[in-house]
Point group: C2
Chain length 154, copies 2
């Protein structure tokens, strides 16, 4: 049979996901542009905002982002005065994070801009559909997939 040998690139779940992320990312970034924040920064500020002075580790786990990557991403936000960190009272290894007053203000400003993009997206795909997509994505994100280690009998 003259079957297609190459497994259609578009069949790669990872590539498809990244492609969509780039596309949607630019849309949200454009919407947030007036605030000077990127979509990622907005999401991070929000996460910090809803948390109770969360620790780096807590945030990293919630967003499924590498701890060191979180540290890097946090830097510009600290530099711009939106976020501040402080050592945990009981465990000095732990660093807690919180928004500064300016951070809260900036977040409020950004939420207004975000809403426009969010609304427009939902208008296009339907709130119902959007919710389903998010649920599916959360499910994927929480699959906790792992490549079987080649190492067998130690």
């Amino acid at each position: 049979m003259t079957e297609v040998r190459k497994p259609g690139f578009s069949s790669c779940n990872n590539a498809t996901l990244r492609r969509a992320a780039r596309s949607l990312g630019r849309f949200y970034d454009d919407a947030l542009a007036p605030s000077g924040l990127k979509g990622t920064q907005f999401g991070l500020l929000f996460q910090i905002h809803v948390g109770s002075e969360p620790t780096m580790g807590t945030i990293a786990e919630a967003l499924i982002i590498d701890l060191s990557a979180l540290g890097h991403t946090l830097k510009p936000l600290i530099r711009d005065g939106y976020v501040e960190t402080f050592a945990d009272k009981d465990d000095r290894r732990v660093k807690r994070v919180r928004l500064t007053p300016q951070g809260e203000t900036k977040l409020d400003e950004a939420i207004k801009l975000w809403s426009v993009a969010q609304q427009q997206f939902e208008d296009r795909v339907g709130a119902e559909q959007a919710a389903k997509l998010r649920a599916a994505l959360d499910e994927v994100a929480d699959l906790n997939l792992e490549i079987p280690t080649a190492a067998p009998s130690p």
Copy 2:
């Protein structure tokens, strides 16, 4: 009801998408690690492979990636000898891309690794479900959303 009130950060389509992308990205990256390629590079090599000596612009459009970003991403692949570029015969502004023999070899090697991850993913979520998710993501990616320009009546 003591329901969680948070306007759920998780309601942000963009944040949810990125989170899933980070999660799945690491999985595929781990699978491809033995080849020395990242998921993104694999996808790019594949895209070049299936194209007919595509131009930078063509690839960028297909993957919905910024043209300059594509150029940056291509550099390590060129440096490592997997990809080469050459000027188009009819339009010297256009640069075409193709895999080198080593590139083809590396791609074949990577496809084997990729298959393991891909298969495992589909086993977990179901091939049917995975296909639906990809379709939904492609739909989102191709929405061509735009933030209404503030500029009104010129």
